[in-house]
Symmetry: C2
Amino acid sequence: MASVSKSYLDLVDACDSFPYNDPSNPHHADPYAQFYTFYLPSDPRPHGYLLPATVAAMPWTEEFTVDHEHKTITLNPTLTSTAAFTHLIDNAITCNTFKLLHGEHSEPYPVIGARVPVSLERYAAPLFGIVSRGAHLTVYTRGGVGGKGEGEGEMKIWVPRRSKHLFTYPDCLDTTVAGGVTAGEGPFECVVREAGEEASLDEGVVREDAKSVGCLSYISHKDAPGDSEKGLFSPELIYCFDLEVAPDVVCKQCDDEVKEFYLMGVQEVKRALQRGEFKTNSACVMIDFFIRHGVVTPEDEKDYPEIMARLHRRLPFPTSSDQ
Amino acid sequence: MASVSKSYLDLVDACDSFPYNDPSNPHHADPYAQFYTFYLPSDPRPHGYLLPATVAAMPWTEEFTVDHEHKTITLNPTLTSTAAFTHLIDNAITCNTFKLLHGEHSEPYPVIGARVPVSLERYAAPLFGIVSRGAHLTVYTRGGVGGKGEGEGEMKIWVPRRSKHLFTYPDCLDTTVAGGVTAGEGPFECVVREAGEEASLDEGVVREDAKSVGCLSYISHKDAPGDSEKGLFSPELIYCFDLEVAPDVVCKQCDDEVKEFYLMGVQEVKRALQRGEFKTNSACVMIDFFIRHGVVTPEDEKDYPEIMARLHRRLPFPTSSDQ
C-alpha cells in the first residue's frame, strides 16, 4: 500500500486546523461568524466559542444566559462559577448529551485569563471552545555510541507508544511525558508529576534538570476520525520542557497509558513523523524540539517561517487576567 | 527623573506594533483597509502593503501599474523584475522622495515567497511593506566564575553597544551579532559573515558551533521617533542562532557599527531590558533566548503565552514559493 510522506507543515496543519482570517482576501467568510461567544460574569472579554449544535444540545441551567439574537452565552453572576459549570456538566453526563464526555468525570481545567478563578472539566473544555492547557517534556540523551566527548554523542530521544485501549490516538507515538495542566497546578509541577507516573523518571532528576523552553499554541478544528463531536473550536496551549539525561537513565512505562518506550535516533523520529505515527499535537512538539536544537534549519526547510508562526498562533482570548 | 520599568510584553509590543484583526470585536476597523496591495507579475498572492501617502509620493515608472480604484500596485511582466525595482528606487533616491532611503543605495533584499527571484534595496522594503529578513546570533558562555562544573557556570551573554553615529538606534544595546539577510544568501551564511565583521569571531568556531534555534516574526508599525516615514507596514522575519563559547573567547568590535562589547550576566541583561536600553527587535531576540533557556518561565511570567504568540506572528504573505 502506498503511503504519502507528510511534510512538517502537513503535520502542523493537521493540528492548527482552524481557518485563519486572511486579510489578503477581502471576500473571505469570517470563520468565527457561526459561533456563540462565551462570556464570564462581569467580564467583557470572550473566553470561548460554541457551535450552534452544541448550544442546541446543551442542557442549560438557569445559571447561564443564552442569547440567540446576539449569539452569546453568559455565565450569570453566581456564588461560584465553578459550581455552575459542575452543575451543567453533571446534567450533560447524566443525559449522555455529548460523546466526548465519555460519560465520566475528568480533572478540573481552569479558564485561563479569568479575573476570578473558575474551572470546568477537562473533557468539556472543547464544547465551550475554552483554552485547554498541556505540558510536554521531551527527554533525550547525547551520551550514546558515536559520541565525540561528554554530552556530544548522537542525540537520541525517548519516545513512548500509547496503549491501544486509549480513547484518543491509540497506538500512536507520543512526547516522552505529557499531561493536561489541571486547575491550581503550574506547568512545571504537571511535568514533574507526569514524569513519575508515565515514564518512571526520578522526581529529583526532573526537578533539577528539566528546562522550560517555550510554549506552543494552536486552534484545532476537531473533525478528525475518532472525535465524537464535529467542527468544535478547540484552542490549546502546550508548555514545553526539555530534559537531557545521562545514557544510563531509562524511561519505562508504569501506568497503563503507555505500551512501551523506545530510544530513537533523530532519523528514526523523522521517519516516524513522515509516516504520521505521532499523536497530532505531539508531532508539533517534536518539530519544535527539532527547530530549537538545530535539527531542522531554515536552509533545509522551505516552510520554516510558516511552521514557526503556526506553532505559536495567537489565541483570540485573554491568557492573563489583565489583558 | 523617574523611569518606568518595561515588562517583556511592553518590549514585544513595541516591536510587534501593527494592530491585529481581532475576531472578538465584530466592530473593529480592518487595519489593512487603508493599504494598497502589492503584486508581482503572474502571481495572485499579495507580497506587500503600501500606504496611500507612499503611493502618492513614489515616482512610479511604466513598469508598475497603479490602480487607485482597487488599491493595488502590480509589477508588470518584464524581463527582470529586479531591474524594474532598481529603476524605480534610483528615481526615488535621485528625487530624494523618501527620507528613509538616506539618499543612498543599500544591499539587495529578496522578495521572499516570490515564484521568480526578485530583489529590491533593503532600505526600500518598508515602503512596499515587503518582508525584511535578519539573522541574529546570541553568543554566551557558561564557563565563568561560580560554575559547578564544565558548562555549568553562571550564564553570561556578549552584548554590544551600537555606535552613536548610526542612523537607527544609536547607542542602544544589541544582539551579539545581527545583520540583514541579503538576496542569494542564507541566514547561516549571514551570521557567519557578520560574526567576523562585527564581533571578530573566528569563522571556524561559528561554523562549527553556531546552532539554528528558530525564527521570530512580527509586524512593526513604523511610527517610532527617528523613523522618517510614519505608519509604514513593516513585516520582519528574524532567524535566530545561539553560540555557546568557551570563557576565553572574546567578542570585540572591528567595524564602526559597534562601540564596545560587554560580557553581561542574566540579571544585568534583564535590568537593561527593563530600562529600554536594547534596540527594539534585539530586545525580542533576548526575550526569546531567555524563554528557550528557561530564564523566563510560565510560572514567573504571566504574559508567557501572549509573548510567545506575538514573537511568532503569522505574516499575511507567502514565505515560500508554493504557499
